[in-house]
């Protein structure tokens, strides 16, 4: 073993990686952790993970190989990185500062075609903070403003296009584009569609019908030899992957009957539907399971905040999973996109409410990767090495990430929270004021 490269703790790994910037280690060995592969190999009470060129090469109880670098993970937990299924990371810096918000447009008729990608800022402070919380990838979605002036004018229910990022903060950190569309039904849809949730469904249906019409008559429509349509050509283009069943449509729906309406719509148009919200999903869990529709839920939100979510409860995730639904757990809505990493606290609460432990781990990683067909989400040969080494049980509120690897590269865990802490705890020249016991 190369003693120079033998790292005794993950923190040291960071030091070394920082010392050799821009050089991707050929091999990295994580030794002796409890490894939750979330794949066929299951959980290894103690196991080694060999990474080569940013991908997992081998996972085994013991790997006897001389790697370029090693991380001692004895007594630690190794899991795939957390993947945020819905976020506005890189599109918002400060919630109430509109100049730093790019995830929603108002006063413009653009809908499904809206693409927030050019606004994405990989230098956002949300990235290092959530990375330190164990998030390695995130889906980034636009939204529609639900408050303030101009809501519902023009009426539209499609928010637009999405993309996926890794949280390494690099300019080339967008890993996939056009992953899914998002639209609103239920109460939000009602607000955006003139006052009835029925009209929100009608608007989705109309958009999909016109998208079909457009596909069959593209040339005539583009040359203006066609009846006037409700949607722009750009919007209709953006909807094509949906009606081809190639791209998921996230529909917000919380009331059980809204979920059924969404399932009906999906059946009619053969959509790849994903239900976002599903507060009352447990009431129609069998139907969701039969339709093979995944759900993205805010698992810690058990509030009857709206009449559409009167049935909200903490064991929603457990009941849905038991019925055979693929469950994805998002960051808690009440803590906003700034704290998407708290999905693991939500998942921990879901376990406390009956969700099997491994399923909870999958709900914040593997299941997300599967729903959106992106990398990460499991520790198995060939998968991208987005991994986290935790001080303890990753779903526990007293555990934290000790090392975060993205594409096999150890990441800095420094962020504004730790910088401000250190500045005020250890006053130094030029900044003498601060902590006094």
């Amino acid at each position: 073993m190369n003693t120079l490269n033998k790292l005794i703790c993950p923190a040291l790994a960071l030091v070394l990686s920082a010392a050799v910037p821009n050089v991707v280690a050929e091999t990295l060995l994580i030794k002796g952790g409890r490894v939750h592969t979330l794949a066929e190999a299951g959980t290894l009470p103690t196991g080694d993970v060999l990474i080569r060129d940013g991908r997992v090469e081998k996972v085994a109880p013991s790997i006897a190989v001389k790697a370029d670098r090693e991380i001692d993970a004895r007594g630690k937990i190794v899991t795939p990185g957390v993947i945020a299924p819905v976020s506005e990371i890189g599109l918002v810096e400060i919630g109430a500062a509109s100049s730093t918000n790019d995830y929603a447009v108002s006063g413009d008729s653009i809908g499904a075609a809206f693409d927030p990608l050019p606004a994405y800022n990989p230098k956002s402070t949300l990235i290092p903070f959530n990375r330190a919380g164990g998030v390695t990838r995130a889906l980034v979605f636009p939204g529609i403003k639900m408050w303030g002036e101009g809501v519902g004018d023009p009426q539209r229910v499609f928010a637009g296009r999405s993309f996926a990022i890794t949280l390494n903060g690099e300019f080339d950190s967008v890993v996939a584009t056009d992953l899914a569309q998002k639209a609103y039904t239920g109460e939000a849809g009602s607000l955006l569609a003139g006052g009835s949730r029925a009209n929100a469904i009608a608007k989705v249906r109309n958009a999909l019908e016109e998208a079909r019409e457009y596909r069959q008559n593209r040339d005539a429509i583009r040359s203006g030899q066609w009846r006037e349509l409700n949607h722009s050509i750009d919007d209709l283009e953006a909807l094509q992957p949906l009606i081809d069943g190639k791209q998921p449509l996230l529909l917000t729906a919380n009331r059980a009957s809204d979920i059924i309406a969404a399932l009906d719509l999906a059946r009619q148009f053969q959509l790849q539907l994903v239900i976002l919200g599903a507060a009352e999903g447990w009431m129609v869990a069998d139907r969701i399971a039969a339709a093979k529709v995944p759900v993205i839920i805010d698992a810690i939100n058990n509030l009857p905040t709206a009449f559409e979510s009167l049935g909200a409860r903490l064991d929603n995730a457990a009941l849905l999973q038991r019925a055979g639904v693929k469950v994805v757990i998002s960051g808690p809505g009440y803590a906003s996109t700034h704290n998407v990493y708290l999905a693991r606290q939500s998942a921990g609460n879901a376990v406390a409410a009956g969700l099997p432990y491994e399923e909870a781990l999958k709900s914040i990683s593997r299941n997300v990767a599967e729903v959106f067909r992106i990398g990460g989400g499991s520790v198995e040969p060939g998968r991208v090495a987005d991994l986290v080494i935790w001080s303890g049980d990753p779903l526990e509120v007293t555990s934290y990430a000790e090392a975060v690897l993205i594409n096999g590269e150890p990441q800095s865990l420094v962020n504004r929270s730790t910088r401000l802490r250190d500045r005020y705890l250890k006053p130094q020249a030029g900044h003498e004021f601060g902590f006094k016991r």
Binding site: T305, F307, R416, L420
Partner: protein
Amino acid sequence: MQHHFRCLAALLGAAILVTACGGDDSGDDKKQAKSFAQLDAFPSTYSIEQSKPVIIRNAIVLTGTGERLDNTDLVLEEGRIAKIGEKLRAPRDALEIDAKGKWVTPGLVDVHSHLGNYPAPAIESSQDGNEMTSPNTAEVWTEHSVWTQDPQFALALAGGVTTLQILPGSANLFGGRSVTLKNVPGRSVQDMKFPGAPYGLKMACGENPKRVYGGKGTAPSTRMGNVAGYRSAWIAASQYKEKWESYWENGGEAPERNLQLETLAGVLNDEILVHNHCYRGEEMAIMMDIAEEFDFEITAFHHAVEAYKVADLLAEQGVCAAMWADWWGFKHEAFDMTEANIAIVDQAGACAMIHSDSAIGIQHLNEEVAKAMTAGQRAGFDITPEYAVTWMTLNPARALGVEEETGSIEKGKMADVVLWSGNPFSVYSKAEKVFIDGELMFDLHDPARQPRSDFELGILNPEGERS
């Protein structure tokens, strides 16, 4: 110990006030008459009585005073914590609970909640938490907005919360009076009012008042406008107070009552506690100077995201800070968050606590404290669970002026007690049993002991409850 709580309210009310506010100890009628707080206008009718004694055996007890007691028994009798010790004898007819492997903490106290005034479902017609019609609405009392059938009270109870302060919202410089409740079902808000708890006055710094009123083209539209607003109001309140004091002293024609000034004068008279929404360090420093200028106390800064920057000032001035574990970024004034905030403030010697401001957060205060404790440990502080538990029990009780009555497991205090399935700082632990004044108000394993508000009956299922 024999008194029922209705009596306690009358007997101890003044005494609690005095402890809380550091005034003199006269509880006589004359003093009562010279009050601005108007405690008798909507008196507490709280009347939970313990139906039978309780003995909890072999628990791990976090006392809320910094101690951890293993293998400990607790006896709850006549609404009070009667005995704490090993191998205690059960009182006659006691409810006996085997708590081996389980943990006990004081009932949790949330110093910042909007249950009842921003109830669920959050439809417009019941959003009664903020009288956003003037920057100074010190005249409103939020108890008049509390919908006691808010189903969220029971959810908070299941999270171990036994006492909570309901505050008006933060759009105004002076938002109005708060009310401190015990988390019990009630037909009226008076049925829930914590006997003898002092009133609070909600104040707000920073972005909210200037945004709301500046946006309407009225003052304040800047932070300096905020400060001018506070000082003008305190000048008026000082004059009002002097007028009444002169009248009490010299007689003559009684001055005209003014609801707004009455509440502010109540603060100046050390009867009403100031709970000040304030994120930024420099604003906290300015608010403390204003308090100095007009000779009143600020009890606690709430949402004090930057409290760690002025922790030593808070310690010097004896001002508490109520904080979140990790919320940030929703406003510019919430941008400088550090997860070590609570720990730093605490270790600097100031009175630190968690608060929720959220109907979800209030259900998981133990998890929020666990995160703050962990952040403190990572910052290099030696913070144990028995210590950190004070951040959700005794310290918020202190900020509410009820620390003589609740917030710790000590002989003679109200028997507000939570039995946890395990270490309360684990995400997997649950409040199994919650006692308020010795009465079992929540039992995880007994649906009959899980309160349901009227709202929840026949919802989703006509023959059942909400979910």
